[in-house]
Amino acid sequence: MSKRFLAAALLLSASAVPALAAKTSLVVGMPIEPPGLDPTVAAPVAIREVTLANLYEGLVRIDRNGKVQPLLAKSWEISPDGLTYTFRLQEGVKFHDGTAFDSADVKFAFDRARDPKSTNAQKQIFAPIDSIETPDPKTVVIKLKETSGNFLTYLGWGDAVIVAPETAAGNAANPVGTGPFKFKSWTRGDRVELVRNTDYWQKDKVKLESVTFRFISDSQAQVAAVRAGDVDAFPNLAAPELFTEFQKDSRFKAVAGNTEGETVAGMNNAKKPFDDVRVRRALMHAIDRRALVEGAYSGFGTPIGSFFSPNHPAYVDTTGVMPYDPAKAKALLAEAGHGNGLSITIKTPQMAYASRSAELIAAMLAEVGVDLKIVPTEFPAKWIEEVFRNKDYDITIVSHTEPLDIDIFARDSYYFNYKNDRFKALIAEAARTTDEKARFAKYAEAQKILAEDVPALFLFQLPKLGVWNAKLRGLWENSPIPINDVTDVSWTE
């Protein structure tokens, strides 16, 4: 197929097209098809990976390094008390249906998201908002009830993109945003096609004429599609053992980056024996994280000692707090009264990283006299019901892919059943702290508390294994948020 295409392309270029013009179409492969194309009404990562920055834009954007940058807001001021945000909007911005973008759209989008009837998956972003005023079409003033240290970061998430009142209701099937690409078609089960937005307000930045997202769930089929040239880029390959082949092949660029996914074996902290910190620490000491990453993810993925992404500037390495030490694990178990062994179950989702990790953990725990029984649990449906909602489990294992989500250990009735008032107060303070340095210091302290208290077995950061044609430029190596921003992508030659 690809050879024939190449031959046809060469023939064409000899006659009509200027010789060796750079390609302007891009086919991106993704493992999961998004259910709908509106990131403001549902949680799935795949929605953001197609739409964010490509179709929709927020007031700000998160760049490839995780930093907040201006987007639809060209600048902003924050009042000294941290409660009033004044955004100055870009001029000349139009939605894909031709209507102009102004402050009323911002107000509409945020009011819609925080409405009681809204199904926005991250309503806490908008919870601090007290009022939204639009003194003129190019200015938005947002007043907060309490300071929110991460407010600007959150506004770069898919849940906070700006949508228009005329089209918002239909966005799931027929998305209309202000982004560099317009929606063309969606062949359900197969592909979403986008074309260049010729009215884009920064149109000189965009090199591609068309972008196609193709959905390929089977990992063998993913690899075959990349090899055959049917797909130009697969930013997040599911099978690490197939990734290494690409590393040896000069036609492709194979990049192992980081995601925001902390892979943890969460424990039911309210249930015996996990209510005893000695047991939790013993289990952590029994796990050799390096060996786990080697076995479960072919050596890709950074070991973590707490619940924070190594991508984030506030990250501290806590893997040394509860290091691999089977002798200590046995001693702690004996001290807690489980010297004769312990029998527990782990509810394991079907994702390869989870089931492989569970098997390795079972082998490691067997070394210290703990019998770990693996119970396969379908994700997401059964897992959400049994583990997440009913908290009917001992241990489970899952990767938490949302950025900056350490606060889940501070939430009441989250599935870990973890209660630590000091930690909770610290997280609340960090959320209110607008001074970056002070906030990061609080996050560092919070990470250390978790590392010592071990409410979950902290295992490794899920890697982002990206593979793409070596002639492509501008794809992201890490994903600081779920996104496939192709604004800057281009072909060489």
Binding site: K117, T119, A121, A172, A225, D230, A381, E386
Partner: protein, 315 residues
């Protein structure tokens, strides 16, 4: 004949009603809340409640069942929870892949199996028979998705003759569409062809041993004509039964093959909908699958009476 058709149609309708009830009840007890899946792990309780209300999941089960059946009777399959579009459109799109795929596979399978089976039986224990037995043994043993993977590795990745999966759509022209369907249809067809070859062979052998065949030969009809006029028509009856059963296999087998070849067919829709607990889509697709099997059985029943005049007179 007409009375037979009418009575079979009535039992078909009753079966479908029971099937719909079974599907509904199974989905009721299946764990998994579509709203919780859509909204992820950060959603707040009030947000979940809002979505459940929007999706109509807060209504009593009986109301939802009656609504579903009432809609079906008016030709309304409902709206997909995840895709937010009419299920009828989704199903129609997917049918345009799965139906051609299945029919292509049936065509390949019968085109291979009937001649091979008859040829093998005609010269029992000859070289053709031996070869056919080996082929069919292998075909039965190897699962279709694995054949599919091998095909992709060889014909797509190595030789570049076929796309490695996906479907360009019928808009792209009949050539590229068929090109995308050929490998998956082959992968789907081969194991079934193996089974069908064996059935054809043994059915033919059985008829060859019958008294009337010996009589025909004794009366001077030559070997080839006996085979064509007397043996094959009689052997077709058990072959039709198996083919009828296989039709449902082709539909079901399509789920695996569609995944390997990344084809947007009905099977993948069912799989995806189950994962996302898109209850509206699952209900409809499972009912369509079941309805298909029931209708095929009905057609096979009618088919018998055409192939076998004895059944016609009895009815």
């Amino acid at each position: 004949m007409l009375r037979l058709v009418i009575s079979r149609l009535a039992s078909l309708a009753v079966t479908l009603l029971f099937v719909s009830l079974a599907i509904f009840l199974i989905l009721e007890v299946l764990p998994g809340d579509p709203a919780a899946i859509m909204l992820g792990t950060s959603a707040r309780e009030d947000t979940l409640a809002a979505l459940r209300q929007e999706l109509g999941l807060d209504r009593p089960a009986l109301v939802r069942y009656v609504d579903w059946i009432g809609g079906l009777l008016q030709g309304d399959l409902g709206t997909s929870i995840t895709y937010k579009m009419p299920v009828s459109t989704l199903v129609a799109e997917r049918m345009s892949v799965t139906l051609p795929l299945s029919f292509l596979a049936i065509l390949i399978s019968t085109a291979l199996a009937l001649p091979l089976g008859v040829a093998a039986a005609a010269r029992r224990d000859g070289p053709v028979d031996r070869a056919v037995l080996i082929f069919s043994q292998m075909g039965v043993a190897v699962p279709n998705f694995w054949i599919g993977l091998l095909f992709i590795l060889f014909f797509s990745t190595r030789l570049g003759w076929f796309p490695a999966g996906g479907f360009p759509g019928w808009d792209a022209g009949i050539g590229p569409a068929l090109q995308a369907l050929l490998l998956p249809a082959l992968a789907l067809a081969l194991p079934q062809a193996a089974v069908l070859t064996r059935v054809t062979r043994s059915a033919t052998l059985e008829v060859i041993g019958a008294d009337f065949v010996r009589t025909a030969r004794a009366k001077g009809v030559n070997r080839r004509a006996t085979l064509r006029r007397h043996v094959v028509p009689n052997a077709l009856i058990p072959v039709t039964t198996i083919l009828g059963l296989q039709l449902s296999f082709f539909f079901g087998g399509a789920i695996l093959v569609e995944n390997v070849f990344n084809l947007p067919g009905l099977g993948r829709l069912a799989y995806q909908a189950l994962n996302q607990r898109d209850l509206v889509v699952i209900k409809d697709v499972v009912l369509i699958f079941s309805g298909f099997v029931i209708v095929v059985n009905f057609l096979v029943d009618i088919g018998y009476t055409i192939l076998d005049p004895r059944l016609r007179s009895r009815a």
